[in-house]
């Protein structure tokens, strides 16, 4: 393999975490900003969702404070997802490789990764996660405006209030489901991808195992099929 020429592309990155640059500094910053905004909205949103989780509002300064900031952090999250779209849209289109991969997703679930067809920078599951968050945040933002400025919705249009609540709850629950899987996959199933989001680098072996097409693309190495 020819990791040496990849390393020269980012001489400033700490190579002790791996040979291949997976996420640039800008990508990591935007990921963690998005994570901060989402987790704030998650904690405060769950506080508003159930009396059994209302104590969570105390973690961020109490109910009124949470009510004040939740929409602003939501807006920031929407902007950060928009930025991620700008950064990653080229890697997020569904390819033929993804279609083949998704047909054998049961091998992925059972950790039989050697049975899976090779995929590019992101696998189909990661792409699904992004698109769910992308469309989820659009729905959350639109319905959230209705909850944010509920007093501005005239009484004659009160069905908008009812619709906003319904859409906000459904979209939030969908993103929470995706979020649970995202945390599980990145922190527990593939810890190296978690380190990659911090330090930026992955080992060649990791890249070859889970994102072979991307590995071949960035290294120009097709020898180790």
């Amino acid at each position: 393999m020819s990791a040496s020429h990849i390393a020269t592309s980012r001489p400033t990155e700490d190579r002790s975490w791996g040979d291949i640059l997976r996420y640039t500094f800008i990508e990591r910053v935007h990921h963690w900003l998005g994570a901060l905004f989402y987790i704030y909205c998650l904690i405060t949103g769950l506080a508003f969702w159930s009396p059994y989780m209302y104590w969570m509002a105390a973690l961020v300064g109490g109910g009124p404070t949470a009510r004040f900031w939740h929409p602003w952090f939501g807006l920031a999250f929407a902007l950060s997802v928009g930025w991620m779209y700008k950064m990653w849209r080229g890697d997020l289109a569904t390819t033929d490789a993804d279609r083949r991969w998704s047909k054998s997703i049961n091998h992925y679930i059972a950790n039989e990764d050697e049975e899976l067809p090779p995929v590019g920078r992101f696998n189909f599951g990661q792409k699904l996660f992004f698109w769910l968050m992308f469309y989820g945040v659009i729905l959350l933002l639109i319905s959230g405006l209705g909850l944010w400025f509920v007093e501005s919705i005239p009484w004659s249009l009160r069905w908008v209030r009812y619709l906003a609540v319904t859409v906000h709850v459904v979209a939030a629950m969908a993103t929470i489901g995706a979020f649970i899987i995202h945390i599980y996959m990145s922190v527990f199933m593939e810890p190296e991808s978690f380190y990659a989001m911090i330090h930026g680098r992955v080992s060649a072996a990791w890249a070859r195992t889970f994102h072979r097409l991307w590995y071949e693309q960035v290294t120009g190495d097709k020898s180790q099929k």
Binding site: A47, F48, W49, S50, P51, Y52, Y54, A57, G63, P64, A66, R67, F68, I109, A110, N111, D113, E114, L147, V150, E151, W155, R158, R161, Y162, L163, V165, T166, V169, M173, I176, G177, I180, I181, Y184, F188, M189, E190, P191, E192, S203, A205, W206, R208, T209, F210
Partner: protein, 296 residues
């Protein structure tokens, strides 16, 4: 009830009946608004502002006698005017004192997410506790009467308290105190209901209002503000009083089944990934699989 220990039902060695035994103590209060004797003087509006310490708000003139289109966060009591043309061509000037209805099944309380921001007292008063209010406005979605109003400066929601501060020390609400025609009454729910029914039958029998009746909507479990209407079949005529008010089904679903479906789904998700980890463990890269003697 602590008061029950002061009420004697049997007395030893006592000749004759027990004084006060069999007394029916009703704790539920009620405001009765007789729209048929209201003259629209708005004394109740002023009394409400005076007692609750709000300045008189800027009025909106839209060719009626109404002070403003709807109640406001600092204007809890509003006479709604409607010039209604009857089938025979005659005019009726309908006036209804609009305020919180103090529902037995309050939609605001059902929708509220903040611990103890809304309470319902045993006497039926539904009261906002502004210290606990977070200003989310969910109560504005839950209320079927368009009553709770958001204050942008306080960032909290306000509404009529049924003068809880007066009622709790044995006074009648400020609006009742100010009414010059006696169209406003205050007492126990059963007394007011009886008085209202009596007045309605009087209207039906003596005044030619065949559809006169009492508005105490069962969809919200009855209210602690009830109306006598000339035309109880068309309450909408009285400034948009809903015919069959109930907590919106969206709010019922959101605060009921949706909560449990959502909570179980979240717990299920966490349980699911935990079980997956226990069954399959973390993913390994190729070199580790080789080391472990696995097939590439």
């Amino acid at each position: 009830m602590s008061q029950a220990s002061t009420e004697i039902v049997r007395i030893s060695g006592h000749a004759g009946t027990v004084p006060g035994a069999g007394l029916d103590r009703e704790f539920r209060v009620c405001k009765l608004v007789d729209t048929t004797t209201c003259i629209g003087c708005k004394a109740c509006e002023v009394a409400c502002l005076e007692w609750n310490g709000y300045p008189f708000s800027e009025t909106t003139f839209d060719n009626t006698y109404q002070t403003m289109p709807e109640t406001a966060w600092n204007y809890w009591n509003l006479i709604k005017f409607n010039e209604h043309e009857r089938e025979d061509g005659s005019m009726m000037l309908l006036m209804r004192k609009d305020q919180c209805m103090h529902c037995a099944d309050p939609g605001c309380l059902a929708a509220c997410p903040a611990d103890a921001a809304i309470v319902q007292y045993a006497n039926g008063i539904v009261d906002f506790q502004e210290a606990n209010c977070i200003g989310c406005g969910y109560c504005m979605t839950g209320c079927p009467f368009n009553i709770p109003k958001f204050s942008p400066t306080a960032r909290k929601v306000f509404k009529c308290t049924l003068c809880n501060d007066r009622v709790s020390v044995g006074l009648e609400p400020a609006c009742i105190k100010a009414c010059p025609t006696g169209c406003l009454h205050f007492g126990t729910k059963s007394e007011m209901k009886e008085l209202a029914e009596k007045r309605a039958s009087q209207l039906r029998e003596n005044s030619g209002y065949r559809d006169a009746g009492v508005y105490d909507p069962p969809g919200v479990g009855g209210t602690h503000v009830i109306y006598v209407l000339h035309d109880a079949k068309n309450p909408e005529l009285y400034g948009g009083l809903p015919k069959d008010p109930h907590i919106p089904w969206v709010v019922r679903f959101w605060k009921g089944p949706a909560k449990w479906i959502g909570n179980l789904a979240m717990l299920g998700g966490i349980l699911g990934v935990t079980l997956h980890y226990l069954r399959f463990g973390p993913k390994e890269v190729e070199s580790e699989k080789k080391k472990n003697g696995g097939q590439l």
